[in-house]
Symmetry: C2
Subunit: 322 residues, 2 copies
Amino acid sequence: MAKHFADKLLDAIEGKQTPVVVGLDPVYERMPKQIREIAARSPQASLSERSAAAVEFCQSIIDIVADLVPAVKLQSAYFEMCGPSGLEALYRVADYAHQQGLIVIADVKRGDIGSTAKAYASTYLEEVYIGQGKDEKAVTIDAITVNPYFGTDGVEPFITAARENGAGIFVVVRTSNPSAGEFQDFKDASGRRLFQFVAERANAWANLPECVGESGYSLLGAVVPATYPEDAKLLRAIMPNSIFLVPGYGAQGATADDAAAAFHEDGWGAVVTSARGIIYAWERPEYEHLGEMNWEQAVEVAVRDMRKDIASALARRAGAEE
Amino acid sequence: MAKHFADKLLDAIEGKQTPVVVGLDPVYERMPKQIREIAARSPQASLSERSAAAVEFCQSIIDIVADLVPAVKLQSAYFEMCGPSGLEALYRVADYAHQQGLIVIADVKRGDIGSTAKAYASTYLEEVYIGQGKDEKAVTIDAITVNPYFGTDGVEPFITAARENGAGIFVVVRTSNPSAGEFQDFKDASGRRLFQFVAERANAWANLPECVGESGYSLLGAVVPATYPEDAKLLRAIMPNSIFLVPGYGAQGATADDAAAAFHEDGWGAVVTSARGIIYAWERPEYEHLGEMNWEQAVEVAVRDMRKDIASALARRAGAEE
């Protein structure tokens, strides 16, 4: 039987000694020139050239971060943007990340009625075969993000598929963007906000039979951003045995202390993602002295700095709670 | 400048004399044997064989329905389920539908933070190139469905892309599934439910500058199911100049009279979709006498019957309102 997703993720966090997850958002125009030159014959790269560049870029980043982080998060939109070959690129990158010992989260934010959700679940949580003939191989993804707007029967097929495949899902409870509150803060008569209610339901799903692993954490986690730390504290209490996937650190403006709010006092229970701040690190003022030629070094320094930043914040939080 | 999406859709409805839209949800196991035999060498078809079958099946359906309906709706999940070649199949089917004079709606239900939403918008509302070399061609999609959970800044990139490309979006306001009410009926202190509030905001988006066409309808429509006709009536009043994309008729249990609730009294303002009830019509008790060999005839009869059924309901509704 496949190992439970939460147990696998927690082991990986322990092994790498950090809850930092690198987001892979490959945007062709922002890739280092060296990568673009390998992949494309002209500046107006075709979609298949862009897909090749995405694979090259992401594999280079995986080589740099494989020993430094437990997992990578692939943002599906940037792969889909490269057309049909982009989806193949996503699976190739997932496969490469697995070879390098990383856990793979695909940020697809799918959600639909039950029958359609079942199709999405089988697409992203079961084996997919890529390549042809002798080169054909099965690729799996460890976990995906799921949109909850359809309610229980839209989420259940993802839970079932996750349970059967040793995979995980992260329900999008609260989002990191400026407009997040527009609908998510919609309040009932008692003052309870929609995202709190979604979290209550998600916590019930997280505790369905066979969902909780040996670690005490469920295969059903939640997206809980660092950009709203007060909300993260509320959610931490509502969903005690769900792992939180925490976006918003860095490029979106949240600090390590903000991100720490999504963790339990023992420093466990969440992973903090950063994409743009890491993979395009050589564009940041603090690393631009390294230059585009040394973009790989900038990525490595940025990951190491983020590891330290998050570790310090978790230590401060543990100190403050004692 | 590209023609406005709503004007284009209304012209097509007038031309075909029906608001019926055929949903293309190609599930390999349910396709007629003839199609499966053309595409796959063994019953355990590979993903690329399944993609080829999806193209063959959908093109055959398009040939049958092209003169009978204004548009087709492609459910992305069933194409994605065929892996990378499935996404190519989706674009090939979209291209073929355009050649046959049909409007193409892709039911992708994407939604994310602004930067990611922009990537999705450019993927599904701008030209995509498929094929290689001499066979390369640009394909466009006319409209997509969008999940509103992220709020304004997650929806804006889709509106901008739609405006620039003569395309449309349908915001998922209310869903057709049994659990729809779980979150969408979350009530504020005044008794207003979440989906009503989402509709109020969506109506404001629908009336942003340059969003309303000559017909008086906006490029921003809404998904409003036939399975909750009382809610459809409320939403019709909240979003007067949005076209409603109405799922739930047929296989999901709603009647033509239920679907009619999403229309204005003049019989305009909505399109009613049916997928499984049409494309797998030969499995339905009323058509199974035709047999799997005559599946194409069953599809045609089912579409003609649905056209009549919806037309009668709209006539009854107009009569009742007078």
